[in-house]
């Protein structure tokens, strides 16, 4: 009877030790996972910062200058601390690809990373954030020929927000009513009586339209030639400007401006992409790869103040 009791005690102790072991193993495993995750998050943040710095620097250097391999290599040569390597850029299809020399991604971390930059221009103008009341210039002059065809604007209207667009076309009118040459501006807007009301954009599959990874649910279409007053030649057109008027909690809008005939439309949008990843092949599976896009208009944005004939509180009699 005593042996039987001893045996029972032994079984209970063994069971207890087994459960304890399982619990301990699970805890150790979780700690290892947490540690690995923390390291990856930190690495990701550093890669992001690394790529972002190169994008902003590249945009400041290049600006709206024409994309040219030799020009970019020359620029980079003057800033090898940011863009290491000798002549790292080459033409790759319609893009310019710059494979920078491996470098340490921080002073305290000797691990090397590889950064590749891609430069491309597009006639489709897409921006993820255009502020309310700001004014974006759109180039219509392609090699001396003014684009007068149709243009579509797609945007994402968030719940609770309303986006109206004012589209201005500046031209030099040499024969005004007063026979005084002057700069005139023709305007249309999504709230014009004659303008089709902006509505939900559904493609053939019944889904919102996706352009450059942006998903849009609203859109309008207008024709440049139709904006111009009758009798005004298209070669007098100087500038196309678009301005969003946004009400609601989000004071900016993501949008794409898509010409109906891109071949006739000048490029006006530049995209610089950075791909940052570890240079250690053995870490390919565990190290993050961070891909960032920087996008900007090739036409310098003018001050939105120049769009007003009058702006103020009121005009009153004294």
């Amino acid at each position: 009877m005593k042996h039987k009791v001893d045996g029972q005690i032994l079984v209970i102790i063994l069971l207890f030790i087994s459960i304890l072991s399982i619990v301990l193993l699970a805890m150790i495993s979780n700690v290892r996972l947490d540690t690995k995750s923390t390291i990856e998050n930190k690495q990701y943040e550093q890669y992001y910062s690394f790529g972002e710095q190169k994008l902003v620097f590249a945009q400041n250097l290049l600006g709206t200058h024409e994309l040219d391999v030799a020009y970019i290599n020359n620029l980079f040569q003057s800033h090898t601390n940011i863009f290491p390597g000798t002549n790292p850029c080459e033409l790759s299809g319609t893009e310019i690809k710059c494979s920078l020399a491996p470098e340490n991604y921080s002073e305290t971390n000797p691990a090397e990373v590889n950064t590749t930059l891609y430069f491309s221009d597009d006639s489709i103008l897409s921006l993820s954030q255009l502020a309310s009341d700001s004014e974006l210039n759109v180039s219509l002059d392609k090699n001396g020929t003014i684009y007068t065809d149709t243009i579509n604007i797609y945007w994402k209207q968030l719940p609770g927000s309303t986006v109206d667009w004012v589209i201005s076309l500046d031209y030099f009118n040499q024969s005004t009513d007063l026979n005084i040459p002057s700069f005139n501006t023709a305007k249309i807007s999504t709230l014009d009586k004659n303008m089709p009301k902006a509505g939900v954009i559904i493609d053939a599959a019944g889904l919102p339209i996706t352009i450059d990874d942006f998903v849009y649910n609203y859109g309008i279409t207008f024709n440049i030639a139709n904006i111009l007053p009758v009798g005004i030649p298209s070669n007098t057109i100087l500038t196309l400007r678009i301005k969003p008027l946004i009400t609601g909690p989000t004071p900016n809008v993501s949008f794409s401006l898509v010409p109906a005939t891109p071949a006739n439309f000048p490029t006006q949008y530049r995209r610089i992409t950075s791909v940052v990843k570890s240079n250690d092949i053995s870490l390919e599976d565990t190290s993050p790869t961070v891909v960032l896009n920087l996008e900007y208009s090739l036409v310098t944005p003018i001050s939105p103040l120049l769009d007003y004939v009058y702006r103020g509180k009121f005009w009153q009699q004294n």
């Binding site: 500046d170 040459p181 014009d192 009400t247 896009n293 920087l294 004939v309 009121f314 005009w315």
Partner: protein, 670 residues
Amino acid sequence: MKYKILLILFLAISFLSIRVQAVVPDVISENIIDFCSPSSGVNNALGLAFNPNFKQMIFCHMTKRDMFANYIPDISKYKINVGKLKISTTLMEEGYLTFYFKLVCSPSSGGKIKVVQGSTEYNFEMNTICDSQELPDGTEYKLLSGSWMRIITNVIVEKDELIWLNLIGDLYDPSDPTGCPGGFRRTRRLNGERLGTRYCTDPAESPGWRVVDFTTITPPKTIHSYLYTLFYQGQNRFANGREIKPIVNLMWSDTDAGGFQETGTSPDMWWYYSGYYDFNDPGMLVAMTPLESSEPPAVPTCKAAQITMTATPHTVGQLESISFNAVKATYPNVLEFLGLTFEAGAVSNCNNVTVNSQTCIAIGNKTDYTWTADYRIYNADNTASRDCTKTSTFHIQSKPGYLATKGGDSYWGNGFTMQTFTNYLNNKCSTNKTNCLSDYLYSANVIIPNGYSLNNFNKAQYIDSNESYLDFQKLSDSINKRAEGLVEIIDANDTNVPFGSASRQVVNFAGDLTIPSNTTCATASIYLVSGNLSIAPDFLINNYTSELSKNFGCLFIVQGTLTITEGSFKGANQYDIVQAFIVLTNSNSGTINIPQDSDLLRIVGGIVGKSEVLDSVNRSAFADIGIIGGIPTITNVLPAEEIVYEGGRYIYLFSDLFIDLNTIYNIREL
């Protein structure tokens, strides 16, 4: 065992903690008076009903007495502490209700209820005024006729100190809550009868009054606290501050002892007590009546300060609407308006007419007109009166003028304040769209009538985001930085302002820049003016009638104010012209000054400022005022000033210099 003790200790502490939380004292203590929010009528059970002249001076009350069981007040609204005897309600007129306490002060004490016009409160000012304002004994008084008011004021005196007041209206009798017809209340009525008499009382019915000498009452010595109630009813005429004789009717009740009990036998005095006071009792009543002196009536005098006269606006454009309003300034309860009259030829088509206010159309053609308010002022007891008049002036601008904008976007932060302007828009814009404002029109104002812009784009209640761009230093720094290596940057002063340079320039001008008449802009330059800008028309672009003008333009960014002076006289329907785009960063009002002139003014370019800035003195347009069907109207009117948009010129010339201060680019992760 030790663990058991610990466990018990733990449980005990937990229990105590809960108890401590549970016994947090109520904010309502014996020394705090609780008032509920102002109610809308006398039907509210316990309340203070004032004369209709006082409007909405009804507020209910809660004493937490058992007697008022039918009444459930919102005691969270007002809590009044000792020494801060403030009662909230909405008062419409200003004056003083005088009351007296003859119990505490020797020979008496009292104070005033200050009624503040437009305020949401009035205060009991517990000044000792008995010596100076007490009425002489032996004077006969009578109750004033007319409208009535009642004040019942509970005054608790504890150890001979006034510690708080409260106000009540009719007293409910909870012992007999039924038996009254609909709308009537079971009350103890204060109409000259004993309080113990029960009535079904119409809440609108005015109770009577009684005369009791409060000074003869001796409170019981054996108790510590007394609750007195001052009751006042009568017409609210207090012009000379001497009309109220404190007459006392003391009553005391103890609901614990079975309702009101009465002591005293004099027909002029009752007082009630139960030998001790507890705070469940409604207390004593002291009745005060407004009385009329038997002294010969004094005829009041007319004083300018008795009424206030306001014409809105004080300066009105011809054919614009103007409102006249006369209001009582002092003694509002002994003054009545008889009517308003206007100088001949000043106004017509008056509507919304009352005895003291009118809204009319200004039709006069001279600057100063008079208007008169006739009123009558009475003495306190309505036995004598005097008719008075008071005269004031207003101004009519015979040719009011207005601003129009052509092309471009316009943003009117506050909408349209000029009646002539809206008349113009309603008359002219509706028939010819070229007379409308701008291509597009925005306003932070609620109302923009439909169709005021050329393209019918009227975005109201819209606040644009471009205010932040109007910073002189930021704009100046940005433009100078962009100009480096691109165009010539020069510093200028009064003697070398360059308007004829063939090349593009950025001109930094320190101080005030004055541009003489007939200066020509023969350059493509941005002028950064740190002071004020003054332009004497004409200021034209060189060769403005020729295509050669395409490459000229003067853009001014001004930290100070803009003045466009008269320039040379050209004649009827002729324009002074300024061709420029002007950005004003000053945030003060009166930033734009355009003195009156017989010429019209046309600004070709644009004027942009902060939403707080743009005021103007309009020029006198050659407005043609006509009469159609006996009603003045506007015909063939030209805007006194018009701004014609030509922002395209400055975009064309300066798109590389005058850029958006916010770089537009996006970074996103794929």
